[in-house]
Amino acid sequence: MPQSRLIALETEHDIAVARGEARTMAAQVGLRLVDQTRIATVASELARNVVKYAGRGRMIAHAVEDAGGRRGLRLVFEDTGPGIPDISAAMRDGFSTGRGLGKGLPGSKRLVDEFEIESEVGRGTRVTVVRWT
């Protein structure tokens, strides 16, 4: 079982590839079906953000293990795009009714155990999420 996988995120088709890889690795790490679905969905949301807002970037998936031997999956989404000017606003943006815009970050955060976001205007964004078994 590979410890890490890297998926380039450039076209909208890559979003589907990324969530497929994420699900596969989630299964390999031993995550239950519901968690696999959560991971696939989070990967889809965050990969789409990269493609939509930054144009290109990448997803790196790591199989991880904590001190107690518990296994998990860490996904990192990075880009060198425009960055997010107001992270707290982005984290407040819920899904509004109808054609709401917004990066779906609060929703994504609820699907994982750990969520970290770093972003700098003009330099890029990195979102790291972890789901434990």
């Binding site: 079906l33 679905t37 696939a40 899904f95």
Partner: protein
């Protein structure tokens, strides 16, 4: 390879049945939306039944498109019902906070046909027996692996 025409759109009576069997990328999703609307126009169907029992993930994009399909179909005087949502998908949607506004969701094809018939009066073509084609098709769907 993104090919939105791989998803069949079947017509049974006045209802379009759309069984989604593959993981779709964004382009396929949009293509499907366009095909459904153009089939509605072409056939004059009054109901759309989208079967997502084989769909293992619904994210915000697909969720929004489902809402859009329902809204656009409504404008064309057709009702949409989504059937067969998997438990894991339902749980994830709730956690995501996605509402699927404007979309009627039911448990399976059988319930979907009942809903279209009972609530919206959409069934087989006039004159045909009510328990005819639609029910046979429904039984076939339920027995599908």
């Amino acid at each position: 390879m993104a090919d939105g025409s791989r998803i069949p759109i079947l017509k049974v009576g006045r209802v379009l049945i759309v069984p989604i069997q593959v993981d779709m990328d964004d382009r396929m999703v949009i293509q499907l939306q366009e095909r459904i609307l153009s089939e509605l126009e072409r056939t004059g169907a009054r109901g759309v039944l989208i079967d997502i029992s084989l769909l293992e993930m619904v994210d915000s994009f697909i969720g929004r498109v489902l809402s859009d399909i329902a809204a656009m179909a409504r404008i064309m005087d057709a009702r949409t019902v989504v059937v067969g949502m998997q438990p894991a998908v339902a749980i994830t949607l709730v956690e995501l906070g996605l509402e699927l506004r404007g979309v009627d969701t039911v448990l399976n094809v059988d319930e979907g046909i009942k809903l279209l018939r009972d609530e919206f009066g959409i069934g087989d073509a006039e004159g045909a027996s009510p328990q005819g084609e639609l029910s046979a098709f429904a039984s076939e769907q339920i027995n599908r692996p």
